[in-house]
Subunit: 473 residues, 2 copies
């Protein structure tokens, strides 16, 4: 039986919605116990090391770029951005260059009529808590074509051409545009009807179980969140799954619906994004890492002269349960916890999100849709008023009773070391000013989900937030 055969009105989004309503999955009822057991069975040590203890990585003579001896994998290089946006003029920064497209894929299979996701308890060097739940497959192209001589990637055959299973979600999406140059991954959900072997470290969860975990800190990893954001839902039947303001909930349900009133049409939103891409000069140019102004390389870190933004560091990792592997690699670690928030409000009874069109250094297509606020607070405190993040005060001073979602989540643990972000959804209410600056628009959940059928419209922070929003029905 497939999701669309299950009598959910022939619709994939109806099947996903039913799964989201089931908070206790029969396949992994004691999830907390299972996770604790996995953690006990796992050996994992991460140590920060000086660059000269990196193995297989070196600073290329001349450019000073930090590269792998295979010439593949990723590299830390320099980027110069020249722009007339907000009088920012021009800046240089280190950036991770990894232009390959990897795969983030989740297998979905129905048990007794309820679709379940196959997730993995995965350790990654950057995690503050060793294990988080990742997609079924989370593989760079180097991984799955075996540049590193590692083992095969389990379940990869469900996502590679010619594949088994039916594709329900499939789009290429970006990752952190301030840290990655043009990095993108293919986000997939593939439905399988045959028997799927359940390997160690893997578990079957309903979307409802995943939603519960997503309300906690640091359990659902970034790669699971982005795939989850691409999953379409419909207004659910039945009551709320969690304690929630009823007016907010009704507006949210209307925002999920296919035929809804919205403040702007999708064509208007597309034209507004086109305007943002075409309006400003935003030229990106490679520069040697050693020529990046205001950044200094020490024994153990490459840092901004004022201690802002992030450091490039090196780590030594020992990990495994049965078989222990050991490797070293560079990572990027932000100097503080990030803040990301969506301000939302009901307009005409339909919940709208206040979306920012944002130009970021490493974004392939210049600009993407971002949450209302996305910043590192102290990194921006030195800026003149007109360059400071808009709506920062609305977030910092939000009435706790109006916060619909509030959790700390990790950014990708394979590249980012202890990179945590506080994600919040704040219902600002109907007194909040509808008129917004020209780089902001009020957009519905349904419209954002429509755009996610395509590539490069929502940035990773907006996608994380959209996944979080679906936990608030």
């Amino acid at each position: 039986m497939t999701i669309t055969d299950l009598g959910f009105g022939g619709s994939t989004s109806r099947g996903f919605t039913v799964s989201a309503q089931i908070l206790t999955g029969e396949q992994t009822p004691d999830l907390a116990g299972w996770l604790a057991e996995r953690l006990r069975a796992t050996r994992f040590e991460v140590e920060r090391i000086p660059f000269d203890r990196l193995n297989g990585w070196y600073f290329e003579p001349g450019s000073g770029n930090l590269v792998h001896s295979s010439g593949k994998y990723f590299a830390i290089e320099g980027l110069q951005v020249s722009t007339d946006l907000n009088d920012r003029d021009s800046w240089m920064q280190p950036i991770i260059n990894q232009p390959e497209i990897g795969v983030l894929g989740i297998i979905v299979k129905s048990f007794h009529g309820v679709p379940h996701f196959l997730l993995q308890a995965k350790m990654e060097p950057g995690n503050v808590n060793t294990l988080q739940l990742s997609p079924t497959v989370q593989a760079t192209r180097s991984n799955y074509t075996r540049v590193h001589g590692g083992g095969t990637v389990p379940y990869l055959e469900y996502f590679m051409h010619p594949r088994r299973g039916r594709v329900l979600v499939d789009s290429i999406q970006s990752e952190q545009g301030s840290w990655f140059l043009y990095k993108r991954n293919r986000n997939m959900v593939v439905e399988v009807t045959e028997d799927v072997p359940l390997l160690e470290n893997f578990c079957w969860l309903t979307i409802g179980q995943v939603h519960e975990l997503l309300r906690l800190n640091n359990v659902i990893n970034m790669d699971t969140r982005t795939v989850l954001a691409c999953v379409p839902f419909e207004p659910p039947n039945g009551g709320p799954r969690t304690e929630v303001d009823e007016t907010y909930r009704q507006a949210l349900l209307c925002s999920l619906a296919r035929d809804q009133w919205s403040m702007h049409t999708v064509d208007e939103i597309l034209s507004w994004m086109t305007e943002a891409k075409a309006r400003y000069r935003f030229a990106r140019q490679y520069v040697p890492l050693s020529a990046v102004d205001r950044w200094k390389r020490g024994e153990t870190a490459i840092s901004h002269e004022n201690g802002r933004y992030f450091d490039v560091i090196a780590v030594d990792v020992m990990a495994g349960n049965r078989e222990v592997v050991r490797w070293t690699q560079p990572m990027l670690t932000p100097v503080e916890q990030g803040r990301v928030a969506f301000l939302v409000r009901s307009i005409n009874g339909v919940l709208h999100l206040l979306v920012h069109v944002r130009l970021e250094a490493g974004v392939l297509n210049i600009a993407e849709l971002a949450p209302t606020l996305q910043c590192s607070p102290t990194n921006t405190s030195h800026l003149p008023e007109h360059q400071r993040p808009r709506y920062l005060d609305d977030v910092l001073n939000a009435d706790p009773a109006r916060i619909r979602y509030d959790a700390v989540q990790s950014e990708e643990g394979g590249r980012f070391y202890h990179a945590e972000t506080r994600y919040q959804i704040i219902d600002v209410g109907e007194d909040f000013e509808l008129a917004v600056p020209d780089d902001f628009r009020w957009i519905t959940v349904r419209q954002l989900t429509e755009l996610l059928r395509h590539s490069n419209y929502l940035n990773i922070q907006a996608r994380s937030m959209l996944a979080a929003l679906h936990t608030t029905w």
Copy 2:
């Protein structure tokens, strides 16, 4: 009155369709006479010169890149592509680097209820015939921000923020991916209801008039064709405008319709494109022009060692009608006429186009949808069978009675010198094999038009062909 006020069922596409039905526009009834008069009034001389007579352009020491002294405008650089597609492995080539986003904009205004386009008789150095009809505005960012110290661009205010008029079409589209690195222009149609002054060299035409001209060789320039491709139409009322096979016409009209049967859903097409982008390694890297293998720089041209593909040349241009201006610039000239064709056939009574997903060196998002055939025949004659263009023989041996469109058109005359391409639409009939190689799909006109609301789905050749297809109702 706006297009949607005109009683065309409240639909912009209905208004465009009505305009396409009117073959004699009241605003410029004697178009041929007007064009001949414009040509007489125009002074235009283009001379090929050696590189050392270029003024303001020079080969940068070290890299050998051909650049402008302002550091802006465009540059001829080197590109290396490494890929596992079709065993092509790796190649280097010169490429035009112009990462700015320019504007191609057409003003539309209704006269007595019929929408008209404002086009310009424009001379460009690459044109074989001096004048072609361009959009109202055709400006690079350097043009309109006046890097060159030139005059203002007429009518630009209708397209710049904050603008007058209502946006009907607005998307960023690519240009020749084999010749341009990441080049894109913003394609716009803006509707104006106020009086618009008619400047010398400009004329108001119905879309029907434009369609008639598009059946001729080298009258409608590439920039007009790409904007026209983004214009949505609906099945027209009334009979055919031109002599056409009735079975073909009925299938074409079904292919324009909003609710139609189609062989694949749009989501399936998007997933198939995603697969093509993710499946192959396709890494692009800048290299110095002087380091490009197999290409040699002479006094007057940079050429491939076997005389294939294109030459980079230099020209001296003198042009004007009242005020004469003179400049020099590099250009790219292909070594032969290109061949582009769509094979089309009715499937279940709905016309489908055989679309190729094509990876090209300079395409920002790796792959775009291309016509069935796109090649320079003699450039590919040396290739082994499995690398030769698919369906070439079907095009070369097509039954003349089945050719629905056949014209020679020019590629962009500002960068390309005497670059002509023969464009054909061939109705292969219902006996033609429905099974196609994995990098081909049968897609309807409506589906392609839907994709054109977004950026970077159809390449410039596919867009030129789609514009041409609309002349065959």
